[in-house]
């Protein structure tokens, strides 16, 4: 069953075209990875879905209804959570306040369940509930950002580079959490430069290049594809795969 359907989506920044009419779809329960180099249009795609960016042409259907006329803050109420690049936590608020803010559109009767599912998934956040979010480590901040997405009680999570700036071990921890969330029924659209990590947990993938989808297929197909291997998986000197700098 199709959860998200993107048809001929085009986005421009002024006179510069960032997306040249891309097609993309997500089925319920899938993890789909969106791969590509810097500036390929990955973040732009996510920001267009969550309506943070104006769309030039094309359509985005979520559960069959168009999001084109939907303001960004209503997208969340429809069930889409966006974990932005750089995590976007509120550093001078406590961990608990960060989580609480994400419940703006959530049914209040559901709150207890949501808090416990966040703290089950990330026990470290429970320990640091009263701590200011700005004092958390990079990995903990990423967990908080994912935790906030859970608190919105969403069906679809858009994740923008969750591995950025994390050590390999923390990265693994975050990706395991994503798989767990997926098992609990959430659909995930994962933007990553770390194609290796992303394709390990994804069911399908798309490769973006200069604002166009150039390749799509199952995760296994993409891992084996020589073009992907060369560009993103580190069999080449200029591999983009490793991204663990802090």
């Amino acid at each position: 069953m199709k959860l998200l359907e993107i048809n001929q989506l085009a986005v421009s920044y002024g006179s510069i075209k960032a997306l040249h009419g891309i097609d993309l779809e997500l089925n319920k329960g899938e993890i789909v990875s969106l791969l590509g180099a810097n500036g390929a249009g990955k973040s732009t795609t996510l920001r267009a879905i969550s309506r943070m960016l104006p769309i030039t042409s094309g359509d985005i259907l979520y559960n069959g209804t168009s999001l084109i006329k939907c303001p960004a803050h209503d997208v969340v109420a429809r069930g889409i959570a966006h974990v932005p690049e750089g995590r976007g936590i509120f550093p001078s608020l406590t961990v608990l306040e960060n989580l609480k803010l994400a419940t703006w559109t959530t049914q209040k009767s559901n709150l207890a369940n949501l808090y416990s599912s966040v703290f089950d998934l990330f026990p470290r956040l429970a320990e640091r509930k009263a701590q200011l979010a700005g004092t958390l480590s990079g990995g903990e901040q990423q967990m908080l950002a994912v935790g906030r997405a859970i608190m919105t009680d969403c069906q679809l999570v858009l994740l923008d580079e969750p591995s950025m700036g994390l050590s390999p071990r923390l990265c693994k921890e975050v990706f395991q959490a994503l798989q767990e969330i997926n098992k609990q029924g959430k659909t995930i659209l994962l933007v990553e430069q770390n194609a290796n990590m992303a394709l390990k947990i994804a069911h399908r993938g798309y490769v973006l290049e200069n604002g166009r989808i150039v390749l799509t297929g199952s995760a296994e197909e993409l891992i084996r594809d020589p073009r992907v291997k060369e560009a993103y998986l580190g069999t080449h000197k200029h591999a983009l795969g490793a991204n663990t700098g802090n």
Binding site: H73, V76, G88, P91, L101, A102, T103, W104
Partner: protein, 292 residues
């Protein structure tokens, strides 16, 4: 001794009025990184709305004050909606100039409607003279002004720290771009901030008009003082605005009492320069760290 306590109460009364104005500066700065230079004039508009309600329909203070705060809140919301929203992503300088323009508009609009004369809001607070101990004399209205102001500040503190909307206001100051991703309408949070800041300024205007006098240009001088108080305390910080206001009022009142009324502003502003040399971002302000 009694004289010193009396001067302290004078300072507390003036400081309370400064604080009620300074809070609006600091809250708007906190969320928009913008100095709302029209805010002193919103304070003046509040004073005149209170004046008109009290004189034309003889509204009692218990009704007049909340209604004035409500109406002035709508003035603040309207100013943000009409003059500032479109410029939110524009150069800060455009916003500052627009704010100055809005201020001049408000001054002249009020002058046109009610005339340039100095007025006084009819005193409605009980003004019995109370005597404590061996000759400490205080009027009831002074105590009430101080107490009601402190109560309003306490409510504001509880609102910003304990409610979801208050948390959202602090979050906007942190990272406004992410607010819509939490499902929160950023425009609504900003409107609420302007509403609260304007309502508090209106309360200050009513108190000021009861204790002193009002005219269409009163917002310039008082607005600057409150702005300076907010800067001394650390602009963006609610606690800082209150602290800075009482400090500034204290310096002014004691300079007048013991040195000279001519030196009042000179000493107050000299102190500002000194304090900012020690704490460049104000006493309770956070040093600005630009994220790269």
């Amino acid at each position: 001794m009694e004289i010193i306590i009396q001067q302290l109460l004078n300072a507390a009364q003036l400081g309370a009025v400064y604080a009620l104005i300074a809070l609006g500066y600091t809250m708007v700065y906190g969320i928009l990184r913008m100095i709302n230079f029209a805010h002193g004039d919103i304070f003046m508009v509040g004073a005149f709305i209170g004046f008109l309600l009290a004189t034309t329909v003889n509204m009692p203070l218990v009704l007049m004050m909340p209604l004035t705060m409500l109406l002035t809140a709508f003035v603040g919301i309207a100013i943000e909606r009409v003059a500032y929203r479109k410029l939110r992503d524009a150069n800060r300088m455009s916003l500052v100039i627009t704010a100055l323009g809005v201020g001049i508009f408000l001054e002249n609009f009020v002058r046109m409607v009610v005339g340039p004369q100095t007025r006084q809001i009819p005193a409605q607070l009980p003004d019995k003279i109370l005597t404590f101990g061996s000759g400490l004399v205080v009027t009831e209205d002074k105590l009430l002004i101080i107490l009601i102001s402190l109560a309003l500040m306490t409510i504001l503190w509880l609102f910003t720290n304990k409610t979801l909307m208050g948390t959202a206001m602090r979050a906007v100051a942190d990272n406004a771009d992410v607010i819509p991703l939490m499902g929160i309408n950023l425009n609504r949070v900003i409107a609420v901030t302007f509403a609260i800041g304007s309502a508090l300024a209106a309360a200050g205007g009513i108190f000021y008009g009861q204790a002193y006098s009002i005219d269409p240009y009163m917002g310039i001088d008082l607005g600057w003082k409150a702005f300076i108080a907010a800067v001394i305390g650390g602009i963006g910080s609610i606690e800082g605005a209150v602290l800075g206001s009482f400090m500034l009022a204290g310096v002014e009142v004691f300079t007048v009492a013991y040195l000279s009324s001519n030196l009042k502003n000179g000493i107050a502003f000299g102190l500002l320069i000194l304090l900012l040399l020690i704490w460049p971002s104000g006493i309770m302000g956070k040093p600005m760290i630009k994220k790269v």
